[in-house]
């Protein structure tokens, strides 16, 4: 019997991806050696982690008045910031769309949106805490900026993808600019706008529990203080509250999404 003809391996190993993984390995060794990450420290930490878990449970809800008032403040921050953010984004998004506006308007507006997006909300919160002092107002302003950065960008992109035939048809009837926007543009993008808004409302709810870490109101401040006072059973109570808040928010936003589909 003749030897079976061997075929070339159909799955050729790719040099590129091997080099990539080699690079990753070299980087890992370099980073672990240069940074202060020791194995013994990790092991030491695990023991400490065991003790921490001991102190985290059972959660302590004795100070539920503080918890409740902070929770309400977080909710207020998220709701007010979302409503303002959504309304502002509606206009900013329209102004940033390159198919509706001349460059002289759209380019500065796009730069503004990009600026809103670049910094993490916590850094924006630091600046606002300096500007308007500690408390909910700084949190609200922070989340408005974050909302504009997200909704306006995606809304402008959605507007740029619309079919222009309807806009032209409405323009051909001699409609004013406002009517063109209201009846030619908005009906095509409104459901997507609602989708972005719901997503942002959800994400504002998460972030409103976090901006408090730098003093901008809500649950975060109390959480950070509890950590610093080693008040770990209260930490667990706050964390459970945050998780419950996020789960309820997710369920509600799913409901609204179904209504607007």
């Amino acid at each position: 019997m003749a030897a079976i003809k061997t075929h070339a391996n159909p799955f050729k190993p790719s040099l590129g991806s091997r080099l990539l993984w080699l690079g990753v390995l070299v980087y890992l060794i370099y980073a672990v050696v240069t940074l202060d990450i020791g194995w013994d420290r990790f092991i030491l930490g695990l023991e400490q982690g065991g003790r921490l878990v001991d102190r985290l449970f059972p959660p302590n809800f004795n100070r539920w008045e503080i918890l409740l008032s902070d929770l309400i403040e977080s909710l207020q921050i998220a709701i007010i910031a979302s409503v303002f953010g959504i309304v502002i984004s509606l206009f900013v998004g329209l102004m940033a769309a390159r198919n509706l506006m001349p460059n002289i308007i759209s380019i500065p507006v796009r730069v503004f949106i990009a600026l809103c997006r670049t910094f993490h909300p916590v850094i924006i919160a630091i600046l606002f805490v300096k500007a308007v002092g500690f408390g909910a107002l700084a949190g609200i302003l922070t989340l408005i900026v974050a909302s504009v950065g997200f909704i306006a960008k995606l809304f402008a992109e959605a507007i740029e993808e619309i079919s222009f035939k309807q806009v032209e048809a409405i323009r051909a009837t001699g409609a004013s600019f406002a009517s063109t926007i209201l009846f030619g543009v908005l009906p095509q993008v409104f459901s997507r706008f609602i989708g972005f808004s719901i997503y942002q409302l959800d994400s504002n709810l998460r972030n409103s529990t976090m901006v408090g870490i730098v003093g901008a109101g809500g649950l975060g401040g109390t959480l950070f203080a509890a950590f610093q006072r080693f008040d770990y059973d209260f930490v667990t109570a706050i964390l459970l509250t945050i998780i419950a808040l996020i789960l309820v928010g997710e369920a509600l936003s799913n409901l609204v999404r179904r209504i607007f589909q």
Binding site: G49, E73, L75, L127, A136, F224
Partner: protein, 275 residues
């Protein structure tokens, strides 16, 4: 919007009137608007805000910017450069470490790979809980366990990323064309071969782009993790703010701004080549 929801009402005497939504749909929508507005005005009335602080804000902001200028360029080589490198290391190591957990969980979560609903649910539980805790809160926990430093930052970034990467990678795996998988199974290939030669090549572009996307987010997030003591540029920022060294704060913020922009440019370009 959904065209199937269009309805024709024949109430207006013989002349059918076209309506975009049914009455129930309209009521539901108005209810949502109503609830949102009610919540908005209730919050506005009860929230504790001192309006005088808002009128004062432009003055305070102007004051802050005059204090920030000129920036403290001299602090860049001494402290900020090293801290910025630490931040990049935290983001990169955290992303790589998260893959160790994210890939197995993604496989367990993909319904076309693991056909056990129980395992799917367990994987989903871990992915969701990783995503619903903010990375700053993860960082607080790890600082309490491992002490302040880079290690806490790396672990915080890693655990937060597991949910994100795992969810998106498992969605990519579920969208794989099953024809290839069946063809390989028919040849008697082992499960490992099916995974490596049928699923992986199809999900690979999505995987790399998800990882790159997460890395981009992680660079932004690891810049603030230092505020709670988890290493990197945030520690420098926090110290400078506590000591009211505004020129140094401005330098740190500028450094973050430039690095974030560069990383975003890099990621956008690499993703264009990948997809």
């Amino acid at each position: 919007m959904n065209s199937s929801s269009a309805s024709i009402s024949t109430k207006t005497g013989g002349n059918p009137k076209w309506q975009r939504f049914t009455a129930a749909e309209r009521t539901a929508r108005y209810m949502v608007y109503l609830v949102v507005l009610a919540a908005f005005f209730a919050s506005l009335r009860t929230v504790e805000i001192i309006p005088e602080f808002l009128y004062d804000a432009p003055e305070q902001l102007a004051d802050m910017f005059t204090r920030m200028w000129p920036m403290d360029f001299a602090s860049y080589p001494t402290t900020i450069h090293g801290a910025m490198l630490d931040t990049l290391h935290i983001a990169t190591l955290g992303t790589l470490l998260s893959l160790l957990l994210a890939i197995p969980l993604a496989l367990l979560n993909a319904r076309n790979i693991v056909q056990s609903l129980w395992l799917n649910w367990i994987a989903k539980f871990f992915l969701v809980s990783s995503r619903s805790v903010n990375s700053l809160i993860w960082a607080l926990l790890f600082v309490a366990i491992f002490g302040p430093g880079v290690l806490a930052g790396v672990l915080a970034v890693a655990l937060r990323s597991v949910g994100f990467v795992g969810k998106l990678f498992s969605e990519a795996l579920e969208e794989v064309n099953m024809g290839t998988v069946e063809a390989l199974k028919a040849t008697g290939a082992s499960p490992a071969s099916v995974l490596l030669k049928a699923y992986w090549p199809q999900a690979k572009p999505a995987f790399y782009s998800v990882v790159l996307f997460r890395w981009d987010i992680n660079v932004r997030e690891s810049a603030v993790l230092g505020l709670v003591g988890a290493g990197g540029i945030g520690v420098v920022l926090n110290d400078a703010m506590n000591l009211f060294q505004w020129p140094k704060v401005a330098m740190a913020l500028t450094a973050i701004f430039v690095v974030v922009l560069l990383i975003e440019l890099l990621v956008v370009n690499v993703r264009k080549r990948l997809i």
